[in-house]
Amino acid sequence: MFSQHSLLKRTMPMFIQAAEAHRKPRWLPVAKSKIYRIPKRPVISEDERLELLRLNNNYKTQMRAIRRFYSEDMIKEQESRQSASSEMSQRLEAEEWARCVELNEKWNLEVAKEREERRKLEIQAIEEHALKRIEADDLKLKERIAKASAEIKREKELSSTFITPETLEAAIEHALANPTDYNFAIDLKGNLYQGKETKIELVKEKDTRVNA
Protein backbone atom coordinates (compact mmCIF):
# COMPACT_ATOMS: atom_id res chain seq x y z
CA MET A 1 0.00 0.00 0.00
CA PHE A 2 2.69 2.55 1.00
CA SER A 3 6.09 2.34 -0.53
CA GLN A 4 9.07 2.42 1.76
CA HIS A 5 10.28 5.60 0.09
CA SER A 6 7.09 7.59 0.61
CA LEU A 7 6.96 6.63 4.26
CA LEU A 8 10.51 7.70 4.90
CA LYS A 9 10.24 11.02 3.03
CA ARG A 10 7.23 12.34 4.94
CA THR A 11 7.79 15.35 7.14
CA MET A 12 5.28 14.13 9.69
CA PRO A 13 5.16 10.46 10.57
CA MET A 14 2.09 8.81 9.20
CA PHE A 15 1.53 6.48 12.09
CA ILE A 16 1.86 7.98 15.54
CA GLN A 17 2.07 5.50 18.32
CA ALA A 18 1.19 6.95 21.72
CA ALA A 19 3.21 5.83 24.67
CA GLU A 20 0.13 5.00 26.67
CA ALA A 21 -3.21 3.60 25.70
CA HIS A 22 -6.18 5.90 25.20
CA ARG A 23 -7.50 7.24 28.49
CA LYS A 24 -10.83 8.70 29.37
CA PRO A 25 -10.54 12.39 30.25
CA ARG A 26 -11.18 12.98 33.94
CA TRP A 27 -14.30 15.02 33.45
CA LEU A 28 -16.18 12.32 31.55
CA PRO A 29 -18.40 9.98 33.55
CA VAL A 30 -17.86 6.25 33.76
CA ALA A 31 -18.17 4.60 30.38
CA LYS A 32 -21.50 2.94 29.64
CA SER A 33 -19.89 -0.42 29.24
CA LYS A 34 -18.12 -0.09 32.61
CA ILE A 35 -20.97 1.15 34.81
CA TYR A 36 -21.87 -2.20 36.28
CA ARG A 37 -18.36 -3.62 36.34
CA ILE A 38 -17.23 -4.47 39.84
CA PRO A 39 -13.45 -4.59 40.03
CA LYS A 40 -12.12 -7.57 41.83
CA ARG A 41 -10.38 -6.89 45.11
CA PRO A 42 -6.79 -8.02 45.26
CA VAL A 43 -6.34 -10.99 47.52
CA ILE A 44 -3.17 -10.79 49.56
CA SER A 45 -1.98 -13.48 51.87
CA GLU A 46 -1.60 -12.61 55.55
CA ASP A 47 2.20 -13.05 55.44
CA GLU A 48 2.51 -10.72 52.51
CA ARG A 49 0.15 -8.17 54.01
CA LEU A 50 2.12 -7.98 57.23
CA GLU A 51 5.42 -7.70 55.42
CA LEU A 52 4.13 -5.01 53.07
CA LEU A 53 2.66 -3.10 56.00
CA ARG A 54 5.98 -3.26 57.84
CA LEU A 55 7.95 -2.14 54.80
CA ASN A 56 5.55 0.68 54.07
CA ASN A 57 5.62 1.87 57.68
CA ASN A 58 9.42 1.76 57.66
CA TYR A 59 9.56 3.71 54.45
CA LYS A 60 7.19 6.38 55.75
CA THR A 61 9.17 6.76 58.98
CA GLN A 62 12.44 7.13 57.10
CA MET A 63 11.04 9.60 54.59
CA ARG A 64 9.40 11.69 57.31
CA ALA A 65 12.72 11.92 59.12
CA ILE A 66 14.58 12.95 55.97
CA ARG A 67 11.96 15.50 55.04
CA ARG A 68 12.02 16.97 58.52
CA PHE A 69 15.79 17.16 58.50
CA TYR A 70 15.91 19.07 55.24
CA SER A 71 13.01 21.38 56.04
CA GLU A 72 14.68 22.34 59.33
CA ASP A 73 17.97 22.76 57.49
CA MET A 74 16.32 25.09 55.03
CA ILE A 75 14.69 27.14 57.78
CA LYS A 76 18.01 27.45 59.60
CA GLU A 77 19.77 28.56 56.43
CA GLN A 78 17.07 31.08 55.68
CA GLU A 79 17.25 32.53 59.17
CA SER A 80 21.02 32.88 59.06
CA ARG A 81 20.80 34.52 55.67
CA GLN A 82 18.11 36.87 56.89
CA SER A 83 20.03 37.89 59.99
CA ALA A 84 23.17 38.51 57.93
CA SER A 85 21.27 40.56 55.43
CA SER A 86 19.54 42.48 58.21
CA GLU A 87 22.94 43.48 59.74
CA MET A 88 24.12 44.61 56.35
CA SER A 89 20.97 46.52 55.70
CA GLN A 90 21.16 48.21 59.13
CA ARG A 91 24.64 49.53 58.41
CA LEU A 92 23.57 50.73 54.99
CA GLU A 93 20.57 52.40 56.52
CA ALA A 94 22.69 54.25 59.10
CA GLU A 95 25.01 55.53 56.38
CA GLU A 96 22.07 56.64 54.31
CA TRP A 97 20.60 58.41 57.34
CA ALA A 98 23.81 60.34 58.02
CA ARG A 99 24.01 61.37 54.40
CA CYS A 100 20.42 62.51 54.46
CA VAL A 101 20.98 64.60 57.63
CA GLU A 102 23.99 66.34 56.09
CA LEU A 103 22.10 67.12 52.92
CA ASN A 104 19.15 68.36 54.91
CA GLU A 105 21.31 70.79 56.91
CA LYS A 106 22.85 72.15 53.73
CA TRP A 107 19.40 72.69 52.27
CA ASN A 108 18.26 74.34 55.49
CA LEU A 109 21.12 76.88 55.31
CA GLU A 110 20.32 77.71 51.72
CA VAL A 111 16.67 78.14 52.49
CA ALA A 112 17.49 80.34 55.53
CA LYS A 113 19.54 82.71 53.37
CA GLU A 114 16.78 82.96 50.82
CA ARG A 115 14.29 83.54 53.60
CA GLU A 116 16.32 86.43 55.09
CA GLU A 117 16.45 88.22 51.75
CA ARG A 118 12.81 87.64 51.16
CA ARG A 119 11.91 88.91 54.63
CA LYS A 120 13.90 92.09 54.08
CA LEU A 121 12.03 92.79 50.85
CA GLU A 122 8.74 91.97 52.47
CA ILE A 123 9.36 94.32 55.42
CA GLN A 124 10.31 97.09 53.02
CA ALA A 125 7.13 96.56 51.07
CA ILE A 126 5.08 96.60 54.25
CA GLU A 127 6.68 99.90 55.37
CA GLU A 128 6.05 101.51 52.01
CA HIS A 129 2.47 100.34 52.07
CA ALA A 130 2.01 101.73 55.62
CA LEU A 131 3.46 105.11 54.67
CA LYS A 132 1.21 105.29 51.64
CA ARG A 133 -1.77 104.50 53.79
CA ILE A 134 -0.86 107.13 56.37
CA GLU A 135 -0.53 109.77 53.66
CA ALA A 136 -3.86 108.78 52.15
CA ASP A 137 -5.50 108.94 55.59
CA ASP A 138 -4.06 112.42 56.17
CA LEU A 139 -5.38 113.60 52.87
CA LYS A 140 -8.81 112.21 53.61
CA LEU A 141 -8.87 113.88 57.03
CA LYS A 142 -7.92 117.20 55.53
CA GLU A 143 -10.67 116.92 52.96
CA ARG A 144 -13.18 116.05 55.66
CA ILE A 145 -12.09 119.03 57.78
CA ALA A 146 -12.47 121.36 54.81
CA LYS A 147 -15.89 119.94 54.06
CA ALA A 148 -16.97 120.36 57.69
CA SER A 149 -15.73 123.94 57.86
CA ALA A 150 -17.64 124.81 54.70
CA GLU A 151 -20.76 123.30 56.24
CA ILE A 152 -20.27 125.31 59.41
CA LYS A 153 -19.94 128.47 57.34
CA ARG A 154 -23.16 127.72 55.52
CA GLU A 155 -25.01 126.94 58.74
CA LYS A 156 -23.77 130.15 60.31
CA GLU A 157 -25.11 132.13 57.38
CA LEU A 158 -28.42 130.32 57.65
CA SER A 159 -28.65 130.87 61.41
CA SER A 160 -29.73 134.52 60.81
CA THR A 161 -33.14 133.21 59.64
CA PHE A 162 -33.64 130.84 62.65
CA ILE A 163 -36.60 131.44 65.02
CA THR A 164 -35.26 132.33 68.44
CA PRO A 165 -37.29 132.94 71.68
CA GLU A 166 -37.02 136.69 70.99
CA THR A 167 -38.38 136.40 67.48
CA LEU A 168 -40.96 133.71 68.30
CA GLU A 169 -43.89 136.14 68.81
CA ALA A 170 -43.18 137.92 65.59
CA ALA A 171 -42.90 134.61 63.73
CA ILE A 172 -46.25 133.38 65.12
CA GLU A 173 -47.91 136.61 64.16
CA HIS A 174 -46.41 136.40 60.70
CA ALA A 175 -47.62 132.82 60.32
CA LEU A 176 -51.14 133.69 61.49
CA ALA A 177 -51.19 136.66 59.17
CA ASN A 178 -50.21 134.56 56.13
CA PRO A 179 -51.95 131.14 56.31
CA THR A 180 -50.89 128.67 53.65
CA ASP A 181 -53.24 126.10 52.20
CA TYR A 182 -51.39 123.10 50.68
CA ASN A 183 -54.54 121.24 49.55
CA PHE A 184 -55.21 120.94 45.86
CA ALA A 185 -57.16 118.84 43.41
CA ILE A 186 -56.51 117.57 39.91
CA ASP A 187 -59.18 116.89 37.28
CA LEU A 188 -58.94 114.42 34.45
CA LYS A 189 -57.41 116.99 32.14
CA GLY A 190 -54.58 117.64 34.55
CA ASN A 191 -55.77 121.06 35.73
CA LEU A 192 -54.54 121.90 39.21
CA TYR A 193 -57.01 123.57 41.62
CA GLN A 194 -55.16 125.09 44.62
CA GLY A 195 -56.75 125.28 48.07
CA LYS A 196 -59.40 123.29 49.89
CA GLU A 197 -62.32 125.71 49.57
CA THR A 198 -61.84 126.63 45.91
CA LYS A 199 -65.10 126.25 43.92
CA ILE A 200 -64.95 124.16 40.72
CA GLU A 201 -67.58 124.65 38.02
CA LEU A 202 -68.62 121.33 36.50
CA VAL A 203 -68.52 121.13 32.72
CA LYS A 204 -71.88 120.01 31.31
CA GLU A 205 -70.41 118.65 28.10
CA LYS A 206 -68.66 115.99 29.95
CA ASP A 207 -71.96 114.64 31.47
CA THR A 208 -73.66 114.46 28.11
CA ARG A 209 -70.77 112.59 26.65
CA VAL A 210 -70.94 110.00 29.38
CA ASN A 211 -74.72 109.44 28.86
CA ALA A 212 -74.27 109.00 25.12
Binding site: L55, A65, I66
Partner: protein, 195 residues
Protein backbone atom coordinates in the same frame (compact mmCIF):
# COMPACT_ATOMS: atom_id res chain seq x y z
CA UNK B 1 -35.50 3.43 57.43
CA UNK B 2 -33.52 0.25 56.96
CA UNK B 3 -34.82 -3.02 55.76
CA UNK B 4 -33.93 -6.18 57.62
CA UNK B 5 -32.26 -7.71 54.59
CA UNK B 6 -29.27 -5.80 53.27
CA UNK B 7 -28.45 -6.37 49.64
CA UNK B 8 -25.09 -4.99 48.58
CA UNK B 9 -24.76 -3.55 45.10
CA UNK B 10 -21.64 -2.33 43.37
CA UNK B 11 -18.15 -2.20 44.73
CA UNK B 12 -17.28 -4.09 47.85
CA UNK B 13 -16.41 -2.23 51.01
CA UNK B 14 -14.55 -2.77 54.25
CA UNK B 15 -17.36 -1.17 56.19
CA UNK B 16 -19.83 -3.31 58.06
CA UNK B 17 -22.84 -1.90 59.84
CA UNK B 18 -25.08 1.11 59.71
CA UNK B 19 -24.62 4.84 59.70
CA UNK B 20 -24.73 6.51 63.07
CA UNK B 21 -28.07 8.17 62.40
CA UNK B 22 -29.63 4.84 61.45
CA UNK B 23 -28.67 3.54 64.86
CA UNK B 24 -29.26 6.60 66.99
CA UNK B 25 -32.47 7.70 65.29
CA UNK B 26 -34.25 4.47 66.24
CA UNK B 27 -33.30 4.54 69.91
CA UNK B 28 -35.10 5.99 72.92
CA UNK B 29 -33.64 9.39 73.92
CA UNK B 30 -31.49 9.16 70.76
CA UNK B 31 -29.39 6.44 72.36
CA UNK B 32 -27.71 8.53 75.05
CA UNK B 33 -25.81 6.19 77.36
CA UNK B 34 -25.65 3.35 74.83
CA UNK B 35 -22.44 1.87 73.49
CA UNK B 36 -21.48 1.78 69.81
CA UNK B 37 -18.57 0.20 68.02
CA UNK B 38 -16.86 0.97 64.75
CA UNK B 39 -16.18 -2.25 62.97
CA UNK B 40 -12.88 -1.09 61.40
CA UNK B 41 -11.45 -0.75 64.90
CA UNK B 42 -12.26 -4.36 65.61
CA UNK B 43 -9.09 -5.40 63.82
CA UNK B 44 -7.07 -4.53 66.92
CA UNK B 45 -6.67 -7.13 69.64
CA UNK B 46 -7.79 -4.66 72.33
CA UNK B 47 -11.37 -3.47 72.53
CA UNK B 48 -12.43 -0.13 71.13
CA UNK B 49 -15.89 1.30 71.72
CA UNK B 50 -17.72 4.55 72.27
CA UNK B 51 -20.33 5.57 74.80
CA UNK B 52 -22.81 8.15 73.60
CA UNK B 53 -22.99 11.24 75.80
CA UNK B 54 -24.95 13.72 73.75
CA UNK B 55 -26.70 13.73 70.38
CA UNK B 56 -27.66 16.61 68.16
CA UNK B 57 -29.63 16.16 64.98
CA UNK B 58 -28.64 17.90 61.76
CA UNK B 59 -30.62 20.01 59.29
CA UNK B 60 -32.30 18.44 56.31
CA UNK B 61 -29.38 19.14 53.97
CA UNK B 62 -27.24 16.79 56.04
CA UNK B 63 -29.69 13.99 56.36
CA UNK B 64 -27.07 11.24 56.46
CA UNK B 65 -25.15 12.84 59.30
CA UNK B 66 -25.67 13.39 62.99
CA UNK B 67 -23.61 15.17 65.60
CA UNK B 68 -22.72 12.85 68.44
CA UNK B 69 -20.41 13.31 71.41
CA UNK B 70 -18.87 10.16 72.77
CA UNK B 71 -16.57 8.91 75.48
CA UNK B 72 -14.07 7.07 73.36
CA UNK B 73 -12.11 4.01 74.38
CA UNK B 74 -9.51 3.22 71.77
CA UNK B 75 -7.49 0.03 71.95
CA UNK B 76 -8.34 -0.51 75.58
CA UNK B 77 -7.43 3.05 76.62
CA UNK B 78 -10.04 5.56 77.57
CA UNK B 79 -9.32 8.98 76.10
CA UNK B 80 -9.44 11.86 78.59
CA UNK B 81 -11.59 14.16 76.46
CA UNK B 82 -15.02 13.71 74.98
CA UNK B 83 -14.85 13.31 71.21
CA UNK B 84 -17.27 14.74 68.69
CA UNK B 85 -18.32 12.58 65.76
CA UNK B 86 -19.74 14.53 62.87
CA UNK B 87 -17.61 14.22 59.76
CA UNK B 88 -17.48 10.44 59.96
CA UNK B 89 -21.02 9.91 61.19
CA UNK B 90 -22.30 9.08 57.69
CA UNK B 91 -20.04 6.03 57.35
CA UNK B 92 -22.05 2.82 57.41
CA UNK B 93 -19.60 1.26 59.81
CA UNK B 94 -21.20 1.58 63.25
CA UNK B 95 -22.68 -1.18 65.34
CA UNK B 96 -24.85 -0.94 68.41
CA UNK B 97 -23.93 -3.13 71.35
CA UNK B 98 -26.99 -4.76 72.92
CA UNK B 99 -27.56 -3.89 76.55
CA UNK B 100 -26.91 -7.41 77.80
CA UNK B 101 -23.44 -7.46 76.20
CA UNK B 102 -22.31 -4.07 77.48
CA UNK B 103 -21.00 -5.42 80.78
CA UNK B 104 -18.93 -8.02 78.98
CA UNK B 105 -17.37 -5.39 76.77
CA UNK B 106 -16.64 -3.02 79.65
CA UNK B 107 -14.94 -5.84 81.57
CA UNK B 108 -12.30 -6.22 78.85
CA UNK B 109 -11.04 -2.66 79.23
CA UNK B 110 -8.95 -3.26 82.29
CA UNK B 111 -6.83 -5.81 80.46
CA UNK B 112 -3.16 -4.86 80.31
CA UNK B 113 -2.22 -3.10 77.14
CA UNK B 114 -0.08 -5.04 74.70
CA UNK B 115 2.21 -2.30 73.48
CA UNK B 116 2.51 -0.08 76.51
CA UNK B 117 6.13 -1.12 77.07
CA UNK B 118 7.30 -0.14 73.60
CA UNK B 119 9.36 3.04 73.61
CA UNK B 120 9.97 4.56 70.22
CA UNK B 121 13.34 6.14 69.39
CA UNK B 122 13.74 9.87 68.80
CA UNK B 123 16.49 9.65 66.22
CA UNK B 124 17.32 7.62 63.16
CA UNK B 125 20.56 7.16 61.30
CA UNK B 126 20.90 8.78 57.91
CA UNK B 127 20.92 6.71 54.73
CA UNK B 128 24.45 6.09 53.34
CA UNK B 129 24.19 8.32 50.28
CA UNK B 130 22.84 11.17 52.36
CA UNK B 131 25.80 10.89 54.72
CA UNK B 132 28.23 11.27 51.84
CA UNK B 133 26.21 14.09 50.31
CA UNK B 134 26.09 16.01 53.56
CA UNK B 135 29.84 15.72 54.21
CA UNK B 136 30.55 17.04 50.72
CA UNK B 137 27.91 19.73 50.98
CA UNK B 138 29.28 20.98 54.30
CA UNK B 139 32.79 21.03 52.92
CA UNK B 140 31.61 23.08 49.97
CA UNK B 141 29.75 25.55 52.14
CA UNK B 142 32.57 25.77 54.65
CA UNK B 143 30.48 24.53 57.53
CA UNK B 144 31.82 22.30 60.29
CA UNK B 145 31.99 18.66 59.26
CA UNK B 146 29.25 16.50 60.69
CA UNK B 147 30.27 13.56 62.83
CA UNK B 148 26.93 12.45 64.21
CA UNK B 149 24.96 11.20 61.23
CA UNK B 150 21.57 11.04 62.89
CA UNK B 151 18.38 12.97 62.40
CA UNK B 152 15.25 13.36 64.51
CA UNK B 153 12.21 11.26 63.64
CA UNK B 154 8.90 12.95 63.24
CA UNK B 155 5.85 11.25 64.69
CA UNK B 156 2.22 12.01 64.20
CA UNK B 157 0.80 13.35 67.42
CA UNK B 158 -2.58 11.87 68.09
CA UNK B 159 -4.61 11.08 71.19
CA UNK B 160 -4.94 7.57 69.77
CA UNK B 161 -1.18 6.99 70.00
CA UNK B 162 -0.45 3.59 71.49
CA UNK B 163 3.34 3.40 71.46
CA UNK B 164 5.22 5.83 73.66
CA UNK B 165 7.96 8.09 72.31
CA UNK B 166 11.20 8.25 74.31
CA UNK B 167 11.52 11.28 76.55
CA UNK B 168 14.89 12.90 77.20
CA UNK B 169 17.66 10.33 77.58
CA UNK B 170 15.30 7.39 77.85
CA UNK B 171 16.54 4.32 76.05
CA UNK B 172 14.15 3.18 73.32
CA UNK B 173 13.14 -0.45 73.16
CA UNK B 174 13.01 -0.55 69.38
CA UNK B 175 15.41 0.87 66.83
CA UNK B 176 14.56 2.14 63.38
CA UNK B 177 17.21 1.99 60.71
CA UNK B 178 17.60 2.61 57.02
CA UNK B 179 17.42 -0.69 55.22
CA UNK B 180 15.26 -3.73 54.98
CA UNK B 181 15.13 -4.58 58.68
CA UNK B 182 13.98 -7.89 59.98
CA UNK B 183 11.17 -9.30 57.87
CA UNK B 184 7.80 -9.87 59.49
CA UNK B 185 7.26 -12.99 57.47
CA UNK B 186 10.58 -14.69 56.64
CA UNK B 187 8.85 -17.25 54.45
CA UNK B 188 8.69 -14.64 51.69
CA UNK B 189 12.47 -14.26 51.66
CA UNK B 190 13.35 -17.92 51.33
CA UNK B 191 16.56 -18.47 49.35
CA UNK B 192 17.53 -14.81 49.52
CA UNK B 193 20.54 -13.68 51.51
CA UNK B 194 19.65 -10.94 53.95
CA UNK B 195 22.67 -8.98 55.01
Amino acid sequence: MTSAVIKYVGRTTDFKGKTLWEIVGCLKNLGVGRIIVRSVFERYPETSFMKIVKVETCPDEERRRVRVWVEKTFRGKKLPNITEIYRTSYKPDYKLIPKNEEAKLLATVDKVHDYSNVVLPKIIEMPPLMKKFITKDHEKKGLEIMTDFTMPIRYNRSPNRVKRIAKGDEKPTVQFSMGLGTPASPSLYEGIQLS
